[in-house]
Structure formats: C-alpha cells, structure tokens
Amino acid sequence: MESPSSLPAGDLAVAREPERAPESAPAHGNVPDRAWAVLLTVLGVGVLCVAALIVSELWRIGGPAIAHAGLKDFVTRSTWDPTRDLFGAAPYIYGTLVTSAVALVIALPVSLGLALFLTEMAPAAVRSIVSFPIALLAGIPSVVYGLWGLFVLVPVLRKDVEPLLGKTLGFLPLFQGAPIGLGYLAAGVILAIMILPTITSISIEVLQTVPGPLREAALALGATRWEAIRLSVLPYARAGIVGATMLGLGRALGETMAVTMVIGNSPTIRASLFAPGYSLPAVIANEFAEASGELHTGALAALGLLLFAVTVLLNIVARLLVRMSRRGPARVRA
C-alpha cells in the first residue's frame, strides 16, 4: 500500500522515496555479490521475456492466417468454414461482446452495492466475515462454474426466467424467441457471477483510500449516509471504480470454460439474448486441438491474438486508472 494521503496528488512521487536505505549501493569488485545481482536481474528480465514470448508466438502462429484473410475481412466477415479456408470471426467477436456486456450490466451494480455496503455501511465484523465467501467465489475453478451453469442455471433460465422476461419485456428484440436456456443470457449471467469478486474487491480497495475527512465533512453538514457516499465518496473513487470495472471486463472477455459450456456454441449473430451464440475463447477451446490444418490453427491463434491485444489494452488503462485513484483524483467535484 502506498502512503495514505489526505491531500490531492502531486507531492506523492517524492513521498515514496525515503524508504530506500543504504544497501542499494553497488557491490564493486565482489564476485558473488555481482553474480547474485546478475542472477536476480536475469530473473526479473525473465518476466519481460515471457511477455515478449507470448506476443511473438501468437504472431508467429496467427500472423499468416490474418494475412490470408485480410485483417478487415477477418474481423467483419461472419462465415467460419475451415474446410473452405474461410475465416470470418464476426460471430465470435459479437458473442464475446454481448455476453461481456450482459455480465457488466448485472455485475456492476451488485459489486458496487456490495463494495459500498462493506466499506461504508456494514460494521467491521460483517466485513471480515464476508471477505471470506468473496475470496471463495474468486477461487472456484471456471470449469466448476460451467458445470453448475449447465445443470442448474440453464434449466432455471429455460423454465422460469426466460419465459418471464419474454412475457414482460418481450417487445424488445433482446427478449424474443424460444427460451432455450443455452445462449448469450446464460453465458452473461455466469460471467457476471465470475467477475463479481474481481470488481468488488478492487472497488473495496479503492473505496478504502477515500480520505475519512471527506465523508465526515459531508456528514457534519447534515448529509445522510447515502448523500455522503453520492456526493463525496463516489466522485473521489470514480476513476478507480471505472478501472475495477475494466479489469472485470477483461476477465469476462477472456473467460473460457464456463462460457463454452453454456453459450450453445452456434456461430451465428442473433439479436435475442435467448439465442445460442459463440465466443472467441469458446471457439479456440472447442476447435484448437482438432484443427484441420495449419491455416485453421493459425486462424484460431489469430483469434487469441485479438483477445490478447484487447485484454492487454484494457488492463493497461485499468491499472493506470486504479493507480491514479489510489493517489486521489486531481480534483474532487463538489
């Protein structure tokens, strides 16, 4: 944790420094110490090598397929037929985006409510008790979520939720069509459950950096607890919460097993959330081991490259936002 500051940022770069002590002086003319330093540096640089390796391998395997199809056609065409060497990834991209959007719509309010409840409203005892089940939720393997989704969530959606949605909101194209159970909605709900701990725990971290005097000032002026949250806490934490949401989104985009098991695996683009679809990770999971040739493998690796690029970008922006917010926003809107 960085030093908590009640002041807006600016002077924090300086405040971080003084902890470093004498020992970082270089070890001249001392062979074992030098070797040790070199070893550590090599291992540290190893992380950079891992990153470089990921990029270069994805490019080496996936590059030729992108060149074959042309980047624009690759992402906009909707025919995926390995036997005819036709690779259009649009249905997978669409499915990934739709399921992630559904997940965010469900998970964001719940996670934010939960984070606010735990940091701002509930007594400390509740917070320490609840942190355990949230960690548990984050630790459950995704294939187990998929199993639960397939045999518990999907039947519930098919029998109860989708007919009800169809009856009440059926005028929207989103909720039309036969209630199958397997489909975008099921995948979105599972994803929502899976990203909930991510968004919640990072939001809690961000909310805890909001300086106490901000809340106290609002409360002292006669604001209710909720008004203090809305007027002082949330504006201060906004960037961090956006970052937390983006990290959740990153997880949702790349989540494989649970989605593969409940999305229905149909390479089509449909407006209805009840319809079966497909996603980028799901098609890689289903086809990679049995790909019909180098071009097919390449096209699947290219999907992976696409996924990698998007998640890395999201992560970079999100981490910067969370970092920024830990230091406090430049200005707090009244």
Binding site: W36, T41, G46, E57, I61, M121, V143, G254, T311
Partner: protein, 278 residues
Amino acid sequence: MKSVAGRRAVNHVMTALCALALLLALVPLVSLLWLVISRGIAGLSLDFFTAIPAPVGEEGGGVGNAILGTLYIVGIACLIGVPLGVGAGVYLAERGDSRLGDAIRFTAEVLSGVPSIVVGIVAYGLVVLPMRRFSALAGGVALSVLMVPTLARSTEELVRLVPHSLREASLALGVKQWRTSLKVVLRTALGGIMTAILLAVARASGETAPLLFTSLNNQFWNWRADQPTASLTVQIFNYAVAPYNDWHEKAWSAALVLLILVGSLSLAGRLLSRNRLR
C-alpha cells in the same frame, strides 16, 4: 431542497439495496457449493480416487489418473514458474527501484490479466509444435506462465515487508549482500512466500482452458512428461458436456474432488500466513 423525511427514506432504500447486493452475491455461491457437495458425494469411493475411467455404460471407474495428472502437470509448472516468479519478485523488491523495475512490475500486472486460453496457444507453439505431440510438459509450461506474474507481485510485496534493520544488521556484521538476501531477507519472508506459492498452485490446479490443447487428455495412467496426460479439470469438462447421465454424475464427483484439492491448498496457504503473522 427535499424534505428530511424524504432524504432519510432514500438513505434507507439505498442501504437496503446495498445489503441486497450481498444476498445476491451469496446465492450462487451457496447453490454451487451445495450442489457440488450433495451431488458429488454419492459417487465418491476408494475406486473413484484410484481407478482409471471406465468406458461408457460400464459401472465403476474413477479419476485416479486425472488426479495424478493434475499433480504432475502442476508439479512441472512449479519447477519452471516458482524460481522465475519468486526470483523476479526478489529482484523487484531488492533492486527494482529503477526504470527497468517499473517496466517489469507493470508488465507483471498486465500479464496477470491475460486470458489463460491465450497462454495455452503460446505453450502449444513453444512445446507441442516442436515436439509434434501433446504432452504434460506443454501443460506445465502453460500453467507456469500463468503463475509467474502473480508470484512476482506477491513476492515483491512480502520481501518489502522485511524490516530494513534486519538487512542493515546483517550487512553491518560484514555478511555479503547475496548471503544477506538469501539467509536474512528471504528467510524472513519465507512463510509468506510459501503462502503465495500455495495460492498460485491452487489457482493453477483449477485451470482448464490452457490444458485443452497442451496436455490434452489420457484415459490411462501416464508417468512420462512427453505424453498426453489427463487432468481433473479437463476430465470434468469432458464428462459434463458428454450426453451420458452417469458421466454427468462423475463430473459432479470429480468437481467435488477438485474443490477439495483447491480448497485445501488455499486453506493451507492461509493458515501458514496466519501463523507467520503472529
């Protein structure tokens, strides 16, 4: 300005909604745990832990080879991932206050968000393609890549917690830097690092996606690192999506075994760090 009563009412409603969020979050967790336990426990027997899978329609059979395979693959992952991850973490803590350190730290953070299936493709390219076969080694490489970023980050934090006075005392006694690093700093942080390793192992044991096309699967016992190897997670996936009812039951039982494995690893990790802190 709204009336005080109205503002109070809004406050109560919002508080209730936030409490409701807690309830909403707990429902799937309770349902999932309850079902895995209640449906999985019926299929557990000694056979289930020690036998290899039975063909469709035949009674009995187990996931013994898959349990072994998961341990085997995760073991390989540890051999590669632990030294690299912990070493990088020590580097970041001891000499990481530089541009290079910042770059490594940020890269590790970003890498921890890379989808695991993408890492599977990388391991496929690095190991499966040159060896021309699916293997436990490929699965281990994939999982090790997933372990490195989190291990590096948590090791750094733990090493930074070691008080400077300890380091200074050791150096003042004329102990060389490398010995101070190993025998004083790492020794002090060891408990915490063990916890981090156990948590990373728990996470790796639950991974499925990167194993689908690296270690693939195997219906038999396998001890060789260059052969396709079964894993609990891939086995659960295959059982779950197959159209046979008795395989579905086996999927639940295997899921219970997996949860017990992952749960006891993370529990052990947490207990370990609790003892260290007191």
